[in-house]
Amino acid sequence: MAGAGSERSRLSSTMKHRAAKLRIQLVTLACATSLFCGNSCFSVTSSLSTPPDAFQALIAGSRDLGPTPPTQTVSLLLTLKDASRARLESDLAAIYDPRSPMHLHFKRAEQAQAEYGPDSIAVSNASSHLKRRGLAVDWTRGNGWMTVTGTAHAVEAEFGVQIHDYVTPAAVRFWASRLPPTVPPELTAVVSGSARLTSYVPVQKNAVPGGGLKPDDLARAYDLEPLRALGNVGSGARVVFLEVDGWAQSDLNTFTQRFGLPPMHPSEKAAQVLPPVSGEAEMDLEVVHALAPAAELVTYTISLDGVTTKTDFFSRWLRVQDQMIAENPGAVISISLGFCEDWAGQQVAEAFKTSFEKAAAMGETVFVSTGDSGGFECLAYAPPGTAPTADYVAGLMPAMTPSVTAVGGTRLSVREDMSWYAEYGWEAPVRTVGTGGNVSRYFQRPDWQRGNGVDNQFNPNRMRSVPDVSADADAASGAAVFLNGQWTQGGGTSQSAPIWAGVTVLVDDYLKSKGLKPVGFFNPLLYAIFDGKPPYPAFHDVVQGGNLVYPATPGYDLATGIGTPIAWNLARDIELYERQH
């Protein structure tokens, strides 16, 4: 590398001179050395001109290495038919309808477990069939999905697929079936569909590292101070986070001591051993603690260690998510993770929807960040260096799910006294980074999603659109956080989702102090206030910036949703709304 360094130095010197005059000599395109390219120099062997979806784009951009060895262990995720789905949805409609006698009568955890889920006898029969075919089945009662594991040969025979090995231009090896699995007749009574069969496992953590708003600044910017002055600091509330990385108590101590905040001691409920710290979980915890310092903080960490297949990835995620939802009725949940909606496929998307509907039935408020690739949330699944084109315009799961509140991002400006000044839809075009936001490919628009701008030219088929709301996400305007041993500025929709979680804890606290119910699944209420004529303006309407694909406009838009919170006004509007209904 010494040689590379000196060569680079000479090159640098030459470049500096020439670049200063804006004259750089060009020669034929070549990638002749590895000094600057490492192992990444490659030629794409297949066309990527019109990939129909992210999965096909990945296959098209990778080299086919031939059939996977028949003894290779593979697995797939099956989604299950669930006769209780219709009842769950009608129960939800009643719970969140202010005219219903069941309004805000949330289900207890054991009620939800007993009343909802696929027929266990039918699932047992299907499992027996699969076992006779040499396949192992993993299913937990109540879950709307199961995993099936076996040799490539057995899975190919049972599900009519051909599994091949592939290698991406960036030298990542994986196996996949180009065509989706076919559900055999013996399973059609209970299996509704299957996820794509592949071992390729990308996951997006919605964070942008950067360089801060102090806790009190953030509280002032979104007008939380009046709520806190009334003593609403989250006492008795629980905020739950779904994570894939760990947190270090020493980092959290540095954060709280610096700002004179009460100590924070989160607990972990899923992983036996926390994975290494990458900053994602710590930012979530610190942002919520900054706004709601008395709230109990709990993490449920998905261990991705050793994940080798997409099935393994989704099943681990759903298992921890289902556990988290079952154990925390009434909690506020914040999730800053996601994957491209295309990549999930409709069956997996439905499994996530059902899972979050149970959360809604138990009065849980779920915030999910919409992603940091702007409108191009499927671009991260294409080979590196692929240009951002319309082929990769998509939303991020699970934010697209109609039973969560999807949180987009802004760039926040404050006045010298730290009060709100302006906000822009967050986008950084040269990096193809910005707030996620899009129209769902799978989910119809729920009835509660209404108001100025919800009907727009980008959504002619009236599908579910996200984000619902937004908050500060630009690392240049982010909160001061201490992550992985250093101070930095938080960013990404990973920051905006916990901001909304913190705001909601204080709003719930205020409502409880008035003898009212907490908000539960927030969207019916948020849109009712947005679409109504509340006495206090509850949202900052973001009308500048965008998300690389869609502009921020007056009213609802696909970059920033309804807008960002004016927390004190929102709390008082909800109080009045609940009293009137």
Binding site: L11, L26, V208, G210, G211, G212, D216, P262, P293
Partner: protein
């Protein structure tokens, strides 16, 4: 909301004593209360402070009160990170902000005059400059920059929603090959972004090594140099603009 400087428990602004550890707190905001009441409260606080101090002096050998669960030190109110630095063109009046706390620590400013500011990051340059637009739009100016200075560059893609300081403009990523003094060539990426407002074109260009990245959000520009300048682009303001 404030926090007790002794034990860290939250208290409502205006409280005289911590509900958790009972230590005296700051004076509440001065209100329209009568002078007499302020005086009485002040005397009471003074009395409590003196009594507290006496109690501490007399408490040698007595177990200290334990803050539940850990005593937090007094709050520090200054931000932990320094504020961003600002460049303003003396000639054209446009401004931008940059922070030396992040990646720019490893880049050096190598051009800073009344028109331009530029950095060198490990041998690779990026620059902001300006000129009068003279009726040209941002695309025309960007095209002209490319043709004049990088005539053999080949376009890779047009940057969606290219902008400077949230002012819409035009941007393009190009493939270029650079020749070194030793005859070696390397593949690189040229990035040009231009935005025009009030007849003033603010122009940005960068040349960085071509490098594919495996990260959560790999930039299709395929050069790590974007990480150095991306945040700065959003901070550009034109003369007499309100702050972003």
């Amino acid at each position: 909301m404030r926090y007790c400087p002794n034990c860290g428990a939250p208290y409502v602004i205006g409280s005289r004593f911590c509900g958790q550890c009972a230590r005296p707190l700051e004076q509440g905001p001065r209100s329209g209360r009568s002078f007499i009441w302020v005086g009485v409260a002040g005397a009471l606080v003074l009395f409590m402070v003196v009594m507290g101090a006496l109690a501490e002096m007399l408490s040698v050998g007595v177990a200290q009160r334990v803050c539940p669960p850990v005593c937090a030190p007094p709050p520090v109110t200054s931000p932990p990170l320094p504020p961003p630095l600002k460049y303003t063109s003396a000639r054209y009046g446009y401004s931008l902000e940059y922070s030396e706390t992040t990646l720019l620590k490893s880049a050096a400013i190598d051009v800073r005059d009344d028109t331009s500011i530029g950095w060198n990051a490990q041998g690779f340059p990026f620059r902001f400059t300006a000129e009068r637009a003279g009726g040209r739009d941002s695309r025309a100016i960007a095209d002209q920059m490319q043709r004049t200075s990088f005539p053999e560059a080949t376009s890779v893609y047009t940057i969606p929603n290219a902008e400077l300081g949230y002012t819409p403009g035009f941007g393009e990523v190009y493939d270029v090959t650079l020749a070194s003094g030793t005859g070696q060539s390397i593949r690189a990426r040229l990035v040009i972004v231009v935005a025009v407002k009030k007849n003033l074109a603010v122009e940005f260009w960068a040349v960085g090594p071509y490098q594919l990245q495996q990260e959560s959000h790999p930039s299709p520009a395929a050069t790590p140099l974007v990480l150095y300048f991306s945040d700065i682009l959003n901070t550009v303001t034109w003369p007499n603009d309100p702050p972003l």
